[in-house]
């Protein structure tokens, strides 16, 4: 049984925040494939194209037939724990600070034996459900979980290290005017967030949804404009040291291709979508990345909503797609920079959303509530790449298969 987490005590400002250390980060090139799968909650292992043998640990040649053709394929997620240990001594500073640590040998239904992190509710002899998850170093690791959910299982100390669950955490949502913002705030509170700050640009400008955020317990509207470095510096000075999760919802969408585009609007899209993310990273990144070992409500995740067309443009939204591609690139650099401190950078890709700027596009579209759910699920599952809705998932699948074909297919769309 997992002991449910208690709300953390108020921090003593006189005490030094625990120094963030990372679990071992060195991996072979093949070993990095586990992180690629873990980032999006896939359970892909190398599977020999010639003889079908599933390989683990990752290899450069098949251990059964020596084939070097080892594509990563979705694999049976079940297994059995055949041995377990509780580690009480480790020379590694990250694990030393977290002892005792449980690990086990799991016989995968697919064949190989994997050394895994063991959830507290499983032990030798148990049938388990396996996941590939990202550890604090951003590397993919094998995790053995109870076959069916157990009470408070997400509060297990190992799970808390591997996920960005909102429970007891303080979250900044950057743009209250985003269509998904009300549902997102609600979903975060439902997941146990201790407090949600919601950013509001140009507060003098009246807008209809404002009342929905006013006077709510554990919700505060704060002045925040991603195009204004000063506003970000001021806000980061106030709450940057206690922001555990940041979700960037600020987005500037305008339809139209490139030839006939208004470059002023295109510049606005870049300002909000790409440079805005960069400014947020500059203002909040250092503080968050320095607080990733700070107890139950350590800083855990910096997330941003992106269009799935960051991967390949929809010519009907040329300038917007360009800003999304730029934003994705900024996010990838932030991911590399945050990784040194153990902070996760999560990209939530969505298809066209149910709003004015996507009027006229055919369904399916992503409802604000669905997008909000997708964001919170990504945090709870500890993901780096989340594709919300059928359009985004379909686009990602086609992009993985062949980006060249995807580009041509999108170019032919009416």
């Amino acid at each position: 049984m997992t002991e449910p987490l208690s709300p953390p005590k108020k921090k003593d400002p006189q005490r030094r925040s625990p120094v963030a250390t990372l679990p071992p980060r060195t991996r072979s090139r093949a070993g990095l494939g586990l992180a690629v799968a873990a980032a999006e909650n896939a359970f892909r292992l190398q599977t020999c194209a010639d003889c079908g043998a599933v390989q683990y640990p990752p290899r450069d040649a098949c251990c059964r037939c020596l084939s070097t053709d080892l594509p990563w394929r979705e694999t049976d997620r079940t297994g059995t724990v055949i041995a377990e240990t509780r580690i009480h001594a480790s020379p590694d500073p990250y694990f030393r600070a977290r002892l005792p640590w449980r690990a086990g040998s799991v016989r995968l239904a697919a064949g190989p034996t994997a050394i895994c992190h063991l959830h507290g509710d499983v032990g030798r002899g148990d049938a388990v459900r396996l996941r590939l998850m990202l550890d604090k170093a951003g590397r993919g690791v094998m995790v053995a979980l109870p076959q069916t959910p157990t009470p408070a299982m997400e509060d297990d100390p190992m799970m808390r290290e591997l996920t960005a669950h909102p429970r007891h955490r303080r979250v900044l949502v950057t743009d209250a005017r985003a269509p998904e913002a009300p549902a997102l705030v609600q979903a975060l509170l439902d997941a146990g967030a201790a407090h949600v700050w919601v950013g509001e640009a140009e507060a003098w400008r009246r807008w209809p949804g404002r009342a929905g955020f006013e006077g709510r317990e554990n919700v505060t509207l704060v002045p925040l404009d991603v195009t204004d470095s000063d506003s970000l510096a001021t806000l980061a000075g106030e709450i940057g040291g206690k922001t555990d999760i940041l979700v960037n919802t600020a987005r500037h969408v305008r339809p139209g291709g490139v030839m006939a585009a208004d470059t002023v609007q295109a510049r606005d899209a870049m300002e909000v979508n790409a440079l805005g993310l960069m400014r947020l990273g500059q203002a909040f990144g250092p503080g968050m990345a320095g607080r990733t070992a700070d107890g139950v409500n350590r800083a855990a995740c910096f997330a941003t909503v992106l269009s799935a067309h960051a991967l390949s443009p929809d010519p009907g939204y040329g300038a917007f797609a360009a800003s999304q591609a730029a934003a994705r690139s900024v996010a990838q650099t932030l991911r590399a920079e945050f990784a040194r401190g153990g902070l996760r950078m999560t990209c939530i890709y969505t298809g066209p959303t149910e709003d004015d700027w996507h009027d006229g596009l055919p369904p399916p579209k992503v409802a604000p509530k669905a997008l909000a759910r997708g964001i919170v699920k990504g945090l709870i599952d500890g993901l780096e790449e989340v594709f919300v809705g059928d359009v985004a998932q379909d686009l990602a699948e086609r992009w993985r298969r062949d980006p060249g074909i995807l580009e041509r297919e999108l170019g032919d769309m009416p």
Binding site: P23, P24, R27, C63, A83, R86, I87, H88, F95, A103
Partner: protein, 386 residues
């Protein structure tokens, strides 16, 4: 076909450079000390040898090639044996064949390692690719955690209890108290073993070896070159790598399907042995060797050690110098420790740990936890030349 015996080959001059917990000296220094001691024991100089076999984890950036120049050796035959706990047996069987075939006349086999503060942690970090990809990220318990998993499965499968493993550790400590060079100097009781600090369940403090610096060596030469030196013959050897890859967890080593042929080649059996030296990085591994080399049935080693006295004066002398558990683990020299002690025993040179009348010994080696199990297994039977 049964391979030809190692006729005409003599193994002489077993030497140990006393171990030190931490030392500022380098692997080159330790290896030179061991080589000099072995040559001194045989009345030889550096120019008299034409073959060298080296095992070390801490020579970098050098290899044994660099050692030839560093130590001023001119050779016809040079070997590197990077097999950790199997290094001694592997070096012996390669050197013996080289001498027998005439590729070399006198081969010095040496293993030695430095141990600076923090060098064990650094060695761990670069041990193997599978360890980096699939072991260290899971708690970084080092070999302790890997062997804890094997021990957990072994205990569950065979109903062996911690006290059974404790008997091995306690007997070895008793042996070590006779050995002035053992790092462990105080007696160990079964109670202390059972109540020791947990390291990685079910492994506790006295299941683990202490990393240290040290070196071991011996010489392999034609019998006619050995003159009047106390010498041992090699009756048989075996090696096996990555045995039983389909076993989901390691409960047996490469000895298991080789033992019958191995004893056949030796022309003697387990009951003819006066003593046994197993590779004891953990007591559970010693138990596997006792079973897989046919000293008892599979799964019966717990009962076997309960029914026997494993000390120097007992009915089943085992790891007579105290083994790595009580002497210390000097890197790759740990793979020589049992073999060098066995050579001393069968040639009557073991001094305070001498088993009375010892003439034949079995030695086994086990090395390199590349991922979830030890990959290299080997064994040898030695007989003193009367």
């Amino acid at each position: 076909m049964i391979p030809r015996a190692y006729d005409g080959v003599a193994v002489v001059a077993p030497v140990t450079v006393p171990y030190v917990r931490y030392s500022q000296e380098t692997a080159h220094w330790w290896i030179a000390r061991a080589l000099k001691a072995a040559l001194d024991a045989a009345g030889l100089g550096p120019r008299d040898i034409d073959g060298l076999s080296v095992s070390s984890f801490s020579l970098a950036p050098d290899t044994p090639v660099g050692l030839t120049q560093h130590l001023g050796l001119t050779l016809n035959w040079l070997d590197t044996v990077p097999m950790g706990g199997m290094s001694g047996v592997a070096a012996l069987r390669r050197a013996a064949r080289a001498v027998q075939a005439g590729d070399a006349e006198i081969v010095a086999c040496v293993a030695g390692d430095a141990n600076h503060i923090d060098s064990f942690r650094r060695l761990l970090g670069n041990f193997s690719r599978f360890s980096q990809d699939a072991v260290y990220p899971y708690g970084y318990g080092g070999p302790n955690a890997c062997f804890a998993l094997l021990m957990d499965a072994y205990m569950a499968d065979y109903g062996v209890e911690r006290a059974d493993f404790g008997r091995i550790a306690v007997a070895q400590r008793e042996n070590a108290l006779r050995n002035p060079h053992a790092l462990m100097k105080s007696p160990l009781t079964l109670e202390q073993y059972l109540n020791a600090r947990a390291i990685s369940d079910p492994i506790a403090l006295f299941d683990c070896v202490m990393p240290c610096a040290g070196a071991e060596a011996f010489l392999v030469m034609r019998e006619d070159r050995a003159g009047g030196l106390p010498a041992a013959r090699v009756l048989a050897t075996m090696e096996r790598h990555n045995a039983f890859p389909e076993d989901p967890i390691q409960l047996r080593g490469g000895w298991a399907d080789q033992a019958a042929a191995f004893w056949d080649r030796a022309g003697v059996g387990p009951s003819d042995m006066d003593l046994l030296q197993t590779y004891d990085d953990y007591p559970v591994i010693s138990m596997m060797q006792i079973e897989d080399l046919d000293f008892c049935e599979k799964g019966a080693a717990g009962a076997f050690v309960r029914a026997r006295d494993l000390t120097v004066t007992g009915d089943f002398p085992h790891n007579t110098s105290g083994g790595q558990l009580s002497v210390g683990q000097a890197g790759a020299a740990g793979g020589y420790l049992g073999l060098v002690e066995a050579l001393r025993q069968v040639t009557g040179q073991a001094g305070p740990t001498q088993v009375a009348g010892a003439r034949r010994a079995a030695v086994s080696g086990f090395g390199m936890v590349n991922y979830d199990r030890g990959v290299c297994s080997g064994a040898a039977v030695l007989e003193g030349v009367a």
